[in-house]
Amino acid sequence: MLQIDGLGHAYAGHPVLRDVDLTVRRGELVSIVGPSGCGKSTLLRCVAGLTAPARGTIRIDGRPVAGVPGGLAVVFQEYGRSLLPWLTVRDNVALPLRRRGGTRAQRRAAAASALDAVGLAAVAARRPWQLSGGMQQRVAIARALAFRPSLLLMDEPFGSVDAQTREDLEDLLLTVRGPEMTILFVTHDIDESVYVGDRVVVLNGSPAGVVADLPVTLPTRGEQIATREQAEFVRLRAEVGRQVRKA
């Protein structure tokens, strides 16, 4: 579904990414990890068509990306700033649904159920700036999920929520994903990358490239404690950790 070939990018002369190759099949959930500042957000920006890469090509369903591809949703790392302060939480979530058509009532219903899924049904009528950091982040997640995108890019989406909520959201993500939703999931939490991902891609180096691409083959899935106790899980997280750490 997504095919990245020889992608390179530089900001004002500082090279950030070099020769990134990555192929993602439809419905796959790929975790991306790497040290802070290595270029993960940049990679997502390129895929989203927000930044034109200096070199290399990105294809979605075989067509080169020029501009923002359709059916895309992004949870930005700057989640707080990506919410519109003049809209209520509910309207923020319902906003992208205009693209999907449907009546106003349908959109509101979809927004309400997405907010319910992230545990924020109670604050639907408030404004984003009246929420705590973690709540804002969950609003951004709800917005992306309500949209039912075919390609979902998430940049450190669970960084501001507490451990319990984080586990709930991880499980929520595993529930909502389906054969039609392809997901790139940037995270700093190595456990998390293994827990949610079908594959874990490690970016590293300066400029960064793909230093590891590890398939996750866990016998059990979706039950937090049990999953994390599996030997395969422990092996994978150690391996990912090693790849992230090597300078």
Binding site: A10, L50, T51, A52, A54
Partner: protein, 280 residues
């Protein structure tokens, strides 16, 4: 970022420059051409064609000797005093507008006391204040500069107040937490974040100052300046000169504004470059 081979680079650059110039000026040139054609057809004395206006401008102001930059004595006698008054007025407006605006933006209490007075003041048409000016000030430069300041200060003041009020709360909290002194807070947080808005106000004030310069040269006691020329030509029904003065004001405004844009670009260089128009 496209990679061009070294050989084709200058050609490319020249082409790009030409394209930029064409894009910038195409609309303007088309409009002037249309104006020329229509006015020539109509032959109305009130609306001379642009070519006639340019000829008149040349004759009035730019047919002097090369040693004086081609300026005629009339040009130096009218342009320089006008520009001087305008510069003084704008500088006064900037100083007063930023000081008062920032103070009002940061202090709701002061604002509450002064707001009605300021709102009243900025709605007062300057021509009606002439009797007051004449009594309180001396004819001539003082009165003229005062009238420019009192009219041009408002956009700067209002925009500065607006900018100072809408500083990101996280930034003000940061300043409070680290106990930044009032001057540091002003210098490093409030002014920089209000700066784009202050510039928006300044650009409005610039053109207002130009208009007010004309107005100030209609005040009692004036005997020189572009505005005076304009009014005098109007009273003599000398339309080519009237138009020439109007065009000169437009050109002056354009030049001053371009200058200001340059200053603005430098001043806002450090600001978030991701802002300012769409990204490619």
């Amino acid at each position: 970022m496209s990679v061009a081979s070294a050989a084709s680079r200058p050609a490319l650059a020249a082409g790009r420059l030409a394209a930029v110039v064409a894009r910038r000026w195409a609309v303007a040139v088309a409009l002037v051409a249309a104006w020329e054609i229509v006015t020539r057809r109509r032959g109305d004395v009130f609306f001379p064609p642009p070519s006639a206006i340019v000829a008149r401008m040349h004759e009035l102001w730019f047919s002097g000797p090369a040693t004086r930059l081609w300026l005629t004595p009339a040009a130096t006698a009218d342009l320089l005093p006008s520009l001087g008054r305008m510069a003084a007025g704008l500088a006064g407006a900037l100083l007063a507008g930023v000081t008062l605006g920032v103070a009002l933006g940061r202090s709701p209490r002061t604002l509450a006391y002064l707001d009605p007075l300021l709102q009243f003041g900025r709605s007062v048409p300057p021509p009606t204040l002439v009797p007051v000016f004449v009594v309180l000030l001396h004819l001539g430069t003082t009165m003229q500069v005062t009238s420019i300041v009192s009219g041009a200060v408002w956009p700067i003041l209002l925009n500065a107040a607006d900018g100072a009020r809408s500083v990101d709360p996280v930034q003000t909290d940061t300043a409070r937490v680290f106990g930044l002194s009032a001057t540091d807070r002003l210098r490093t947080i409030i002014l920089p974040s209000a700066l784009p808005k202050i510039f928006a106000g300044l650009r409005l004030s610039l053109s207002l100052a130009l208009i007010l310069m004309v107005f100030s040269e209609m005040l009692p006691g004036t005997a020189n300046g572009i505005g005076f020329q304009l009014i005098d030509a109007q009273s003599r029904s000398d339309l080519p000169t009237t138009w020439a003065a109007v065009a000169l004001l437009g050109i002056l405004g354009y030049l001053l504004n371009t200058l200001l844009l340059g200053v603005e670009r430098r001043a806002l260089r450090g600001h978030d470059a991701t802002r300012g128009g769409e990204r490619p």
